[in-house]
């Protein structure tokens, strides 16, 4: 029996670029190059490893995003995923977390799944809430923030390194998993992988395909509203000294002046 794995991947503005907001206070996606959220590479990697251990598995990568988001899907396909689903619709512009989780959950149900794998957080919104929301909407267990994960005999097991304790978790499939950047380096796509990816199927769905009304998502349908965004003022230039043997003492002097000592 084939293990159906869906990996949710987000297309995000490059964090090393000059990220900013557009006039409607959504993320300005035109000014900065986009890419597959680096934290979702870990999700793709773990899905590939789980698939390798299974007798028979199929990995679908899924994204909700604009036209360019196909780049994120291509990257995941070139790493080794089998097929891709792109949910794209003009009415999705400005969708918030609740709306995104609705669209992802409908798409996951339509694809069919035994295991959903997510990253720990996107590198733009960095909310870290989507995996829990998906588990809630799909009505399946959540096995989240794993630094180690494996699937055997219909059970997913993983290690969660929390603030105060390390936990070993276990749940029956179907389930939603999220993995951290401690789960293991993601592989680079090989040349063969990149070539093969060009031939892999990418399906495009819009809101109608998912039976979602336009007013349930997008800026209009959002459950949250951004009223303002201001650039943080540049920090006033600090004092920089070169250590000539007294650097530690000079620093102590500064800290004392600031009443830290």
């Amino acid at each position: 029996m084939s293990l159906r794995i869906v990996v949710c991947v987000k297309y995000v503005p490059d964090a090393t670029g000059d990220r900013r907001f557009a006039d409607d206070l959504t993320v300005d996606r035109d000014e900065v190059d986009g890419l597959l959220s680096e934290l979702d590479e870990y999700a793709v990697e773990q899905a590939l490893q789980i698939a390798d251990e299974a007798d028979d598995a199929e990995i679908t990568v899924l994204t909700v995003g604009p036209e360019d988001a196909k780049d994120a899907l291509r990257k995941a396909l070139s790493m080794g995923a089998d097929k891709a689903v792109h949910v794209e619709d003009d009415d999705l512009h400005g969708t918030d977390a609740l709306g995104t989780s609705l669209v992802l959950a409908k798409a996951i149900e339509k694809t069919g799944y035994d295991l959903v794998v997510c990253g720990m957080a996107s590198t733009d919104g960095t909310m870290g809430v989507l995996p829990a929301m998906l588990a809630e909407r799909l009505g399946v267990p959540q096995v989240s923030l794993l630094s180690e994960v494996s699937v055997e005999d219909g059970t997913v097991k993983g290690r969660r390194d929390g603030d105060t304790a390390t936990e070993q978790l276990e749940a029956r499939l179907p389930a939603v998993v999220s993995v951290t950047d401690q789960s293991g380096e993601a592989r680079y796509p090989s040349f063969k992988g990149i070539m093969a990816a060009k031939k892999k199927p990418v399906e495009s769905w819009d809101l109608e395909d998912l039976e979602i009304e336009a007013d349930e998502v997008g800026l209009e349908g959002a459950w949250t509203a951004v009223d303002g965004a201001t650039e943080r003022p540049a920090r006033t230039a600090g004092t920089i000294v070169k250590d000539e043997g007294e650097g530690g003492k000079q620093l102590a002097e500064f800290l004392a002046g600031q009443k830290f000592i």
């Binding site: 603030d163 390390t166 530690g248 004392a256």
Partner: protein, 320 residues
């Protein structure tokens, strides 16, 4: 006055500081009603009352410890239904965010995460977020349903405000989902004796420039002289020199202390994402071109193995 639900983060009844900050913020919006779950829940009452909780709803059951997150969602939902609050506030911990996320879906309400400030507004609470590695500050609010908001540690100064803090038992019936994810084992982390990283007033962090696990005591000694927490960059963590729980940055902890000292850290955007809102920033780096120097209030270009021990000695001398 409207009631505001506050989720209590505690360890066996000892309330963690971010919850007391939440109570302070909650009072700006309404009357705080605290929800404390699990072992020792009732013991939280006096600390919560001292900081403004008019009521403390408590529940304990083995489910809270034996299964992941969902039993707590069931309990918070029960509290939500009994109180009909004006907002529900959570600390921005991993667990806090996950409970908040599921509650938001259940009650059909918008969610805002990682607020760094909160005020009452004409159309409900207004949250301040610090986004894009702290390059922007946004003001946002929940426009549909009851605002569900998670707040980062160090977002408000804790203020005492004695209130009744009447303890009430919360009736919880667990959903079918509650027992979905078993916690097979739990190994508590050993305490370092140092302040909690996200709560500390001073943080001293070491990066790749520290050069090895065997050199981290140089960083620790400075931290101890200042009563600070110790952090690390991802490079230092990935090299195995310091535990991941000490990582500061996008995929580590966000810290917002009064003073942040970076030793041997270049200041990559992902690291900055976790410390840029620190009040005073200090760096020691031998490379005058390191991007971290763009952020500092005071920087020393030099070898950390010369500068940091000298600083530690000087701190000790001055503190007597």
């Amino acid at each position: 006055m409207a009631e505001v639900l506050v989720y209590v983060d505690h360890v066996d009844g000892a309330v963690r500081k971010p919850t007391l900050e939440l109570l302070t913020l909650a009072r700006r919006i309404g009357e705080p009603v605290a929800v404390a779950l699990g072992s020792g829940a009732e013991n939280t009452a006096s600390a919560l009352a001292e900081h403004g909780a008019v009521k403390v709803l408590t529940a304990d059951a083995p489910e809270f410890a034996d299964y992941l997150v969902v039993p707590k969602v069931d309990a918070v939902q029960a509290a939500y239904e009994s109180v009909s609050p004006a907002a529900v506030l959570f600390p921005s911990s991993a667990e806090g965010k996950e409970i908040a996320a599921r509650l938001a879906v259940r009650i059909g309400s918008g969610i805002i995460t990682d607020a760094v400030d909160l005020e009452a507004g004409d159309e409900g609470p207004v949250a301040t977020q610090s986004v894009f590695a702290a390059a922007f500050t946004t003001k946002s609010r929940v426009s549909k349903g009851t605002p569900v908001i998670t707040v980062k540690p160090n977002s408000a100064a804790v203020e005492a405000a004695p209130a009744a803090g009447a303890v009430e038992a919360l009736e919880v019936s667990f959903s079918e989902q509650a027992t979905g994810t078993k916690v097979v084992s739990r190994t508590p982390r050993e305490s370092t004796g140092r302040p909690e990283l996200t709560e500390a007033a001073i943080v001293v962090s070491g990066g790749r420039g520290v050069g090895g696990a065997e050199n981290f005591p140089v960083v620790e000694a400075l931290a101890d002289s200042l009563g600070a927490a110790v952090g690390a960059s991802r490079a230092a963590v990935d090299a195995g020199w310091y535990p991941h729980t000490s990582q500061v940055g996008q995929t580590g902890k966000t810290v917002s202390p009064q003073l942040y000292i970076a030793a041997g850290i270049s200041g990559a955007i992902q690291h900055r994402a976790g410390m840029q809102t620190s009040k005073t920033i200090v760096a020691v780096n031998k490379d005058a071109e390191a991007p971290i120097f763009d952020l500092v209030d005071y920087g020393v270009v030099g070898d950390l193995f010369e500068v940091v021990p000298q600083l530690t000695e000087e701190v000790k001398t001055r503190k007597g």
